[in-house]
């Protein structure tokens, strides 16, 4: 019942939070959602709402400038500076003459970004008990208090069972002893009693053999378990030459994964960013940090950083990041885990074939893609899929060997 109560309390909190957010949502929720994407994909790498980054904090920007000026500035900041606008010139000088890229956006798009910024201002100022991120709170809620892991539960049950058996045996022994004592002392007449003998008499020898047997079985089970994990590096968390934190970059600062891992937009490898990508921001930010100094040194001495590779998929398996990220729209976290919470990255998934296959069995294919419509559109199963439950990758041959092994 306590659980239930807590649960309902959380539910109410979430509802309240939702209401709060909804009330703060500006007139055009569509525009605002465009603004979120535009901001996160383009602005967030250099700007935060309440904090200076590569560029200034954007809090109160609507007060500082009128909308027309902002639109001009976002479209082409260099043109504004060139036009001799004093504020723009000063701003450019103050921020070490780092030019802001020009964005060829429509007025609506820019307005949506501004709306998002304004929206965020109120969100950060509104002190709520929640973290301020509806997504995270919802996640926390769904996860709830982690149930006991299965294995722990099993161990406890086994322990309890063993204890009960032990107690029963002890009790039986004590009963036997007291019975014999009483018979000896003549307090009881065995003749008059109905004989109650334990049905099973456990000899110590049996105990030993049974114990050994159990031990052996356990050993074999453990051995199989170990053997099945040979070569699996799940949880592998080597220390890296530079203490780069995904928690800080992807989590706190919400930089898009593909901002640095550009390969996911194009090809098989997600690619570890080149040093010059780090230096895009870090020639300005936190240049005094010892870790950043290492990057700067690598950049100046033209010495690449030797990261330790964490995810080592076997060479005979072909995996293409682009296909999964862009075509299928799989989130990075699906395979890489809560990367935005990892100060040091570890291998989240086991990367075994069973793991791949399982996902291919469960994941539905995005049938809107013209490829599937034009290639599979005439088939019965495709037509059924449109009305019923959809098609998994496995339904379209996604479990076949030569889809991944060439």
């Amino acid at each position: 019942m306590i659980q239930n109560q807590r649960f309902s309390f959380r539910r109410i909190a979430l509802f309240a939070l939702g209401l709060l957010l909804f009330s703060s949502v500006s007139f055009d929720s569509k525009a605002q959602s465009d603004g979120v994407d535009l901001f996160k994909n383009n602005c967030a790498a250099c700007h935060k709402i309440d904090q200076d980054l590569v560029g200034p904090a954007l809090k109160g920007i609507a007060e500082r400038h009128d909308e027309a000026w902002l639109i001009k500035w976002i479209r082409n900041s260099q043109a504004v500076i060139a036009s001799g606008d004093q504020y723009a010139v000063d701003l450019f000088a103050k921020w070490n003459k780092v030019a802001m890229p020009a964005y060829d956006w429509s007025d609506e798009e820019i307005k949506s970004v501004l709306a998002y910024i304004k929206e965020q201002e109120t969100a950060t100022t509104a002190a709520t008990t929640a973290t301020g991120d509806p997504l995270k709170d919802a996640e926390a809620l769904v996860a709830g208090d982690d149930a006991f892991p299965m294995s722990t539960l099993l161990y406890i049950i086994i322990f309890l069972a063993a204890a009960v058996i032990y107690l029963l045996v002890r009790m039986q022994k004590q009963y036997q002893n007291s019975y014999e004592n009483q018979v000896e002392k003549g307090q009881l007449d065995p003749e008059k009693l109905i004989e109650v003998k334990p049905r099973i008499k456990i000899k110590p020898g049996y105990m030993v053999v049974g114990g050994l047997g159990l031990f052996l079985l356990g050993g074999i089970g453990w051995g199989i378990d170990v053997a099945q994990h040979v070569g699996i590096q799940q949880g592998y968390q080597p220390s890296q030459p530079i203490a780069f934190s995904h928690e800080l970059h992807a989590g706190k600062h919400e930089i898009q994964c593909s901002y640095c891992h550009t390969g996911v937009e194009r090809g098989k490898s997600a690619t570890i960013p080149a040093v010059n990508v780090c230096m895009n921001c870090h020639n300005q930010i936190k240049t005094s940090s010892p870790e950043i100094k290492k990057i700067a040194a690598a950049y100046e001495n033209n010495k690449p950083i030797e990261w330790v590779r964490i995810h080592n998929l076997q060479d005979f398996a072909y995996f293409n990041h682009y296909q999964h990220y862009k075509i299928a729209g799989i989130e990075c976290q699906t395979c890489h885990g809560p990367i935005q919470e990892m100060p040091e990255v570890y291998q989240h998934s086991n990367l075994t074939m069973g793991w791949c296959i399982n996902c291919h069995r469960e994941t539905k294919v995005n049938l809107d893609n013209g490829y599937y419509q034009q290639v599979h559109g005439d088939s019965e199963k495709f037509k059924n899929a449109l009305t019923e439950k959809g098609l998994t990758i496995a339904n379209l041959g996604g479990l076949e060997c030569s889809k991944c092994h060439y």
């Binding site: 070569g231 590096q233 040093v275 950083i305 013209g370 490829y371 290639v375 076949e400 030569s402």
Partner: protein, 1019 residues
């Protein structure tokens, strides 16, 4: 004999069908499993007793456990410091460039992965090579990663620096020049205008310098003849596509003659027949030995090598008679079946659309050939002198003269590039003594070859994929050469080195660009330059009027001297090895010759009659002696050879061609002193085994190659394509013909499959395939196919995923001619009167695949796109699948070719060689089966690209490696489920058939019957 029932045979052994051969041929694998050999690798003794067994068993279990306990090695991921814009890991980048080594020319595109060039394909923008690439150009990418490459400049064999070399060579050149001593620049044919300009600068700096062009296999005769008849020593460009009648006289133009890829592309345009256009050119080939060109001819006849000039003079006279011109004075001669006279009639009938080509290197003979073409009105149509070809420029007399000068001590300095006269000059001894008398000898070479090792200085040259340059193979057909990788070693290109010695500090790139800019009248040169580099070509050829023709044919005919012998020796070039410059390339060494199917050796090709008369059999080692030079080589009985002629390939017998190419075969260049030489052949009594592929099995009289003639095709497009059927009894008691190869509803053991998405399939036009072998090398490069070496090929363990089967059949002159038993017997005795058919065979990806049903571990399974998938990690090596494959396309990894020291020739054995591997294709381990996958990695890549573009793959978007590299466009690949795709259309073609389709395995590869343009009524 009905053509459809024509008897084909693959080898002389099969024709003779000895009991031993039949016994051997029934086995899929030549030998029993070499258990002893395999176990001895671990020094295990098979005769172990129980205690030993337990010891070894215990040890290996412990060792395996311990080995499994080692820590997983830490792998590093090292990104760039500055990410280059054009390079991203895992994404291939293509560059257009040019291959031109004075022997082969091709405009190409190079695939680079992570900065490494790994594959070469043809550039379809080129008007010369037209997207075609031959086996040598395909294999040239491996030259980049050759361990035998020179990594530094050397002086007297010791490593030196460029500064030392430049200052010493520069000082000596200045000294020699000042003293008036001759400086000679010896190179192969150079087609690069910029290189020629740099040579001009060099000659300006050193006024005593002159440039000598030397081609090991030259067209000197034709150049001189053209100089005499047209006033300029250049070759014409040929237009085989415009020729309706082609007569080749000893010119292997589909093989190695001048520009074979260009000629194949053109030739094949007129050889593809369809119902809409049931015409094809008529090709008559007169030759001495069986060549690829002769194999593809509609009519072929042989002549004695020394009588080549008589063939030309008699052809001239026959045509002159028809044209009303004066005949020349000559001895009357004709080949079998009066072919010269009938060819003359056909040529004359097709005048204006006729072409005669001749491989002779005699200026007088070539003058007569020019005169023939002039009579036929070929100039301006099938031949063009207004757009000359610069592919061969060497004049033999120049080289003779140079060697003479050197021996007289008149040459002060000799700078050599792209030539190897110490190996391939017919009088290499004279050249070497001359070299000793030359004060300064410099080789600009990639390898310490026979010549470079005798030169004082060797300026290590860069590979062509590391260098800038340009080329003009024919007037106005410019192509660009750009590097695809930085030089791997401390090397410089020839141009860089020459510029340094000229005292010019400009980089080759700047020089090249400036040269182009100065010759360009483009308004926006920057845009033009970028486009030229991007496309790889900048063509502005403008055919003009033909130069005036004047030839003294009578004098030319009088200059011809015929010297015949009972047995004559000819030398020739093989498809893979060619002139021998790339003998160190294991892919080329292992490429079976299209005709003889032999690899890793050269051999004396003799006719069946000669072998019978002299009691020789395959592998007998004979001593061949002529002009005081002799070699000992094995004999190979080659049907189609003129009975009085024996042939030996050049390009072998290298003494300094790296680990792979050294001491393979015997050098035939010293025999090339004359057009043909009298030769003494004596049996040494020794015997060896030749590494031949394909001769191991019989075809059991099955109808594997189907063919017809053009006349019959016009009447019935399905002629010759008799499809197997079974009579199936119907319910009403009647019988109905069911064609298992066509009908998917035939009774079958297999589950019926519905391919709902794609159904990949391939069609191969037997009429187009010339058998050149480019696809075999292309497949090898694309799919990381290992090189196994001669010993293993002899054991039938070659690993090529595709092969080109060559079939012989006895010639039938007319479409309805009957061959009696007696005639057939005579034919078997003579054996030289053959017709040839080529058939590329790759995995047929059967819908009802027999291999799949016998695999006990499901390592080979069927995909729902019609592919027969091979899963290496599941394979336990039972080889049941190979035994059950009707097409014999499965290959077994007997060894670990990547680390077993027995296979040192396999490129994947060294760190440098590994760079050529395709990272998208698994390198297979020992003990697993492998086979053609239809280039599944390319299919998957295109499917992904289609998903990106929100559409189905376009027809022709997926190109298999073999298809892309085929110079004759014989292979078409696509989706059978797309009714409009080219392959779907071809599968419905009347000529289409599946090989042994009566088995109802439903192969996904169909072949189109071969159509020969035979004349049934020849006068």
């Amino acid at each position: 004999m009905d053509i459809a029932q024509k008897k084909y045979w693959r080898s002389v052994e099969e024709l003779n069908a000895s009991p031993q051969f039949i016994e051997e041929s029934s086995k899929e694998f030549a030998e029993e499993i070499p258990v002893d050999e395999l176990l001895s690798e671990n020094s295990l003794n098979l005769n172990a007793n129980r205690r030993d067994f337990l010891k070894v068993f215990g040890f290996s279990v412990t060792a395996a456990t311990l080995a499994a306990c080692t820590k997983t090695p830490v792998k590093r991921a090292v990104p760039f410091v500055q990410q280059p814009e054009e390079m991203s890991p895992s994404i291939p980048t293509w560059y257009a460039t040019t291959y031109s080594d004075g022997y082969d020319y091709a405009s190409i595109i190079v695939k680079t992965r992570e900065g490494r060039p790994i594959k070469i394909e043809g550039n379809t923008f080129s008007g010369i090579s037209q997207g075609g690439v031959n086996a040598r150009v395909h294999a040239s990418v491996l030259g980049l990663y050759d361990n035998a490459r020179l990594q530094h400049p050397t002086k007297s064999g010791k490593i030196t620096g460029w500064e030392t070399l430049d200052s010493e060579v520069g000082a000596q050149l200045a000294e020699i020049s000042a003293a008036g001593g001759a400086i000679r620049l010896l190179t192969g044919s150079i087609v690069s205008p910029t290189t020629k300009k740099i040579i001009g600068d060099f000659k300006a700096k050193y006024p005593t310098a002159s440039h000598v062009v030397y081609d090991a296999i030259s067209q000197s005769g034709m150049l001189e003849a053209n100089k005499a008849t047209f006033g300029s020593a250049v070759l014409p460009t040929y237009h085989f596509d415009k020729a309706e009648v082609i007569v080749g006289i000893g010119a292997d133009f589909l093989g190695n003659w001048i520009s074979p890829v260009e000629f194949t592309k053109d030739y094949i345009k007129n050889r593809k027949v369809s119902k809409a256009n049931p015409t094809m050119s008529r090709h008559i080939q007169l030759e001495t030995i069986l060549t690829v060109t002769g194999s593809n001819a509609d009519q072929r006849a042989t002549y004695q090598a020394s009588k080549e000039a008589l063939v030309v003079t008699n052809l001239y006279n026959a045509i002159a008679a028809l044209a009303g011109a004066a005949p020349v004075d000559t001895t009357a001669y004709d080949v079998a079946g009066n072919t010269i006279k009938s060819a003359a009639k056909e040529l004359w009938a097709a005048r204006g659309k006729a072409l005669v080509v001749c491989g002779s290197n005699d200026a007088a003979v070539q003058t007569l050939v020019n005169a023939i073409n002039q009579l036929l009105g070929s100039y301006g149509t099938t031949l063009d002198m207004s757009v000359p070809s610069y592919l061969r420029q060497g004049i033999d007399a120049d080289m003779v003269n140079l060697v003479k000068e050197m021996n007289e001590g008149k040459v002060g300095a000799l700078i050599m590039h792209g030539v190897n006269p110490a190996y391939d000059y017919h009088d290499s001894k004279a050249f070497l003594t001359g070299l000793e008398k030359t004060k300064l000898t410099v080789s600009v070479s990639q390898f310490t070859d026979e010549t470079a090792s005798k030169s004082k200085y060797v300026a290590a040259a860069s590979h062509y994929l590391e260098s800038w340059g340009d080329a003009e193979p024919a007037k106005g057909y410019y192509s660009m050469q750009q590097p695809a990788i930085s030089p791997l070693f401390d090397t410089r290109s020839f141009e860089e080195t020459l510029l340094a010695w000229t005292g010019n500090k400009t980089s080759v790139y700047d020089y090249l660009k400036a040269n182009w800019k100065s010759n360009s009248n483009e308004l926006d040169f920057g845009a033009f330059w970028r486009k030229a580099l991007h496309n790889g070509v900048a063509e502005n050829a403008a055919p003009g009027s033909q130069p005036a023709f004047s030839a003294n044919v009578a004098a030319a005919a009088a200059a011809i001297k015929i010297e015949s012998a009972e047995v004559e020796l000819v030398t020739y070039e093989k498809m893979g090895i060619g002139n021998g410059a790339h003998a160190g390339n294991p892919w080329l060494q292992e490429l079976p010759d299209p005709i003889s199917r032999a690899c890793w050796d050269n051999y004396l090709a003799v006719s069946m009659k000669y072998a019978k008369d002299n009691a020789l059999s395959d592998g007998d080692i004979v001593k061949v002696e002529a002009n005081g030079y002799s070699v000992e080589v094995p004999v190979l009985i080659q049907p189609g050879t003129f009975a009085g002629t024996v042939a030996l390939a050049v390009g072998y017998g290298r003494t300094a061609a790296g680990k792979t190419g050294t001491n393979i075969g015997a050098n035939a260049y010293p025999f090339r002193k004359g057009a043909s030489v009298k030769v003494n052949i004596s049996n040494t009594g020794l015997k060896t085994q030749l590494a031949q592929t394909q001769t191991h099995h019989t075809i059991e009289g099955r109808n594997i190659v189907k063919e017809t003639t053009l006349d019959r095709y016009k009447e019935n497009a399905a002629d010759g394509n008799i499809r197997p059927y079974v009579n199936v009894k119907q319910e009403d008691g009647s019988t109905k013909k069911v064609y298992p190869g066509i009908s998917r509803n035939a009774v079958t053991l297999w589950d019926r499959r519905d391919y709902e998405g794609h159904h990949w399939a391939m069609a191969v036009d037997l009429n187009a395939c010339t058998g050149c072998g480019a696809c075999v090398v292309s497949c090898q490069v694309e799919n990381n196919v290992p090189v196994v070496g001669k010993e293993e090929v002899i054991r039938r363990r070659e690993m090529h995923w595709m092969r080109i089967d060559r079939y012989y059949a006895f010639k039938t002159t007319g479409s309805d001619q009957k061959i009696t038993k007696e005639e057939e017997y005579d034919n078997i005795q003579e054996g030289d009167n053959v017709e040839v058919a080529f058939q590329p065979v790759m995995c047929q990806q059967c819908d009802n695949a027999p291999c799949e049903t016998v695999c006990p571990v499901l390592a080979t399974t069927h995909s729902d796109e019609g592919l027969n998938q091979m899963t290496y990690n599941r394979c336990v090596g039972t080889r049941y699948c190979a035994n059950n494959c009707p097409y014999k396309v499965r290959r077994f990894n007997w060894f670990s070719y990547v680390d077993n020291s027995k296979f040192a020739n396999n490129p994947a054995q060294t760190d440098l060689g590994k760079m050529v591997l395709n990272p998208d294709v698994t390198v297979r381990a020992r003990g697993v089966m492998e086979k053609c996958t239809f280039c599944v990695q390319r299919i998957q890549a295109v499917k992904l690209e289609s998903k990106r573009n929100n559409r189905r793959p376009l027809d022709g978007e997926v190109q298999t490696a073999c298809q892309q590299s085929c110079p004759s466009n014989a292979i078409v690949f696509g989706d059978l489920n797309d009714p409009d795709s080219a392959v779907s259309q071809l599968f419905l073609n009347e000529r289409a058939y599946g090989v042994i389709e009566e088995l109802n395995v439903l192969p996904s590869v169909n072949y189109l019957t071969k159509v020969r343009n035979k004349k049934s009524t020849v006068a």
